[in-house]
Symmetry: C2
Subunit: 322 residues, 2 copies
């Protein structure tokens, strides 16, 4: 059925450094799963003009398409193994495709995975990347499972990608070039918290990666777990670049509601807090305690002194900072 | 990054009859692989306006997108287990999406698989379906491995989908409505040869499914196996509907070069011919001996009496039927 552009698909696979015995079959591949482990899958579909612009770097688009799926695998506690690519692109976009191929190869190298199967067809540019990994059956992390009394943590820092998006759109400018470069890398080259995800096996009661923003994604965990939570906004981890660039209030709002950070948010029962402490050195990133799970449904944001923190109904990040 | 249309994705999953514990996480999922087996993956990307028309039945598009990937799994000898869907579609296409969801559910029911993960985003309509299955590591079938002296077989009948495509385009008409219905079902509702693929474990030296046509797809096997082949055109299996509808010569040409049949083509060493015979009853379809693998590269088509069969360089199926 598909106009299988075999040479393009082969080129995508070759770029990834896939072993030679996996290049023969283009749109099909094999992945081994160790005994006692289950296969974890994450999929993300992205359309040009909606999720990325025609002018965006094709290398960044490919790198990020892989990275965001690996971030999902991290939140499942899985060890990443491979990725597959379904790509629609017009034949005239040779330079774009070359950049895309390079970005795929960079992601494969950076995260130690193989691109095991790819199908490239003609059409409006749409990227569908799927990441595959494995995790011991009994250790797989889920979005549900948080219980009242569990503590809530996040990895790394929040809000960076939100500010980078505003930077890219020219809605804000920074005086420090290093800060700007750091923030843009956070947006365009996300680093999935893979080591942290593996370290959380047997420790986190629920986990999710922050793609849509803390309030939305933590909200998914709460909904699936049929619980609520309180989060202290003073505790949200903010990078120096974010704090340098905008007011404390704007930084907080970005940390709460901007997406694309690809940090992990997870809950840990009191009984496993010591085990978490012991594993912190293997996680490869800071971990911050931001709140606790409660029986009452809903997400309650508050200051350290207990005052509720309220997000204006129609808040715009940069129209009225401060 | 992706505008994750969670409710749509959830609807896709629900439609497939996926177990409840697999619906919570939309764009992520788990698949178990039995010990000693390897995961087999097939992926196919299809764009509206290129691989299917806006006016095509969305149910058929979804059913076929799953079926053609399962056909790839059949050619790998794999037992199908699940599928994932990356879909870009505009929010205004609610009716189309509903039809797509129905078609997915029909395919999941028909082939006994779960849709374990789906991501739906806004954009020009592109469908990327991936099928996942498993096969004992030592029994996995590949496109390479055919050796001189092996016999070449195909399942079912060839050329039906090619004639159906011409029917759909109004390039040809048939007097028999039953024939037309049979042919259109062959095009729009392909039945992957899953039982045959499993039966060929440990028997076929190489296998491929016929998506692009016998000459092209057998050509892939020959290329990857570094061999050639002779095929007797008189032996190609033709359905009654195809023979009723067009001349013998046109039927032959469709069987050789038209695509979308989703039959299996495979090679079997002389030492395993008896084992193949013994398994025929489990394959669920006729199997026809059409030729043999030879050391000399290239595909040689010939009549039973040895005369070479030559395809005109610029052949058009229906402009001058023979």
């Amino acid at each position: 059925m598909c106009y299988a552009h075999d040479s393009l698909a082969a080129t995508l696979l070759t770029a990834s450094g896939a072993p030679a015995n996996r290049i023969g079959d283009f749109a099909v591949g094999y992945v081994d799963v160790p005994p006692g482990e289950t296969l974890a899958i994450a999929i993300d579909a992205l359309a040009e003009g909606v999720h990325f612009a025609t002018s965006d770097s094709a290398e960044d688009v490919a790198f990020k398409a892989v990275a965001v799926n690996l971030s999902d695998l991290a939140a499942m506690g899985a060890t990443p193994r491979s990725a597959t690519v379904g790509l629609a692109v017009e034949a005239s976009r040779g330079a774009w495709l070359k950049g895309f191929r390079n970005g795929l190869g960079q992601a494969a190298d950076a995260f130690g995975i193989d691109i095991v199967a790819a199908d490239v067809c003609r059409g409006a540019t749409v990227v569908s990347v799927e990441a595959l990994g494995h995790v011991p059956v009994t250790d797989a992390l889920h979005r549900k499972g948080a219980l009242p009394g569990d503590s809530i943590f996040v990895t790394g820092s929040l809000g960076d990608a939100g500010l980078a998006l505003a930077l890219g759109r020219g809605e804000v400018s920074l005086s420090d070039d290093d800060d700007a470069a750091y923030l843009l890398a956070r947006l365009n080259r996300p680093q999935p918290r893979l080591a942290a995800g593996v370290a959380l096996r047997g420790i986190a009661s629920a986990a999710i990666d922050l793609s849509d923003g803390l309030s939305g994604d933590l909200g998914h965990v709460l909904l699936h777990s049929a619980v609520g939570a309180s989060v202290e906004v003073d505790k949200l981890p903010l990078s120096a670049a974010l704090r340098n660039g905008v007011s404390d209030e704007t930084a907080r709002r970005l940390a709460i509601s901007a997406g694309d950070d690809y940090e992990l948010c997870f809950s840990v029962p009191e009984s496993r807090r010591k085990a978490l402490q012991a594993r912190l050195p293997t996680m490869g990133c800071p971990v911050t305690h931001i709140g606790c799970v409660e029986a009452e449904p809903g997400l309650r944001l508050k200051f350290g002194d207990g005052r509720p923190y309220e997000t204006p109904a129609a808040y715009t990040h940069f129209s009225a900072p401060g």
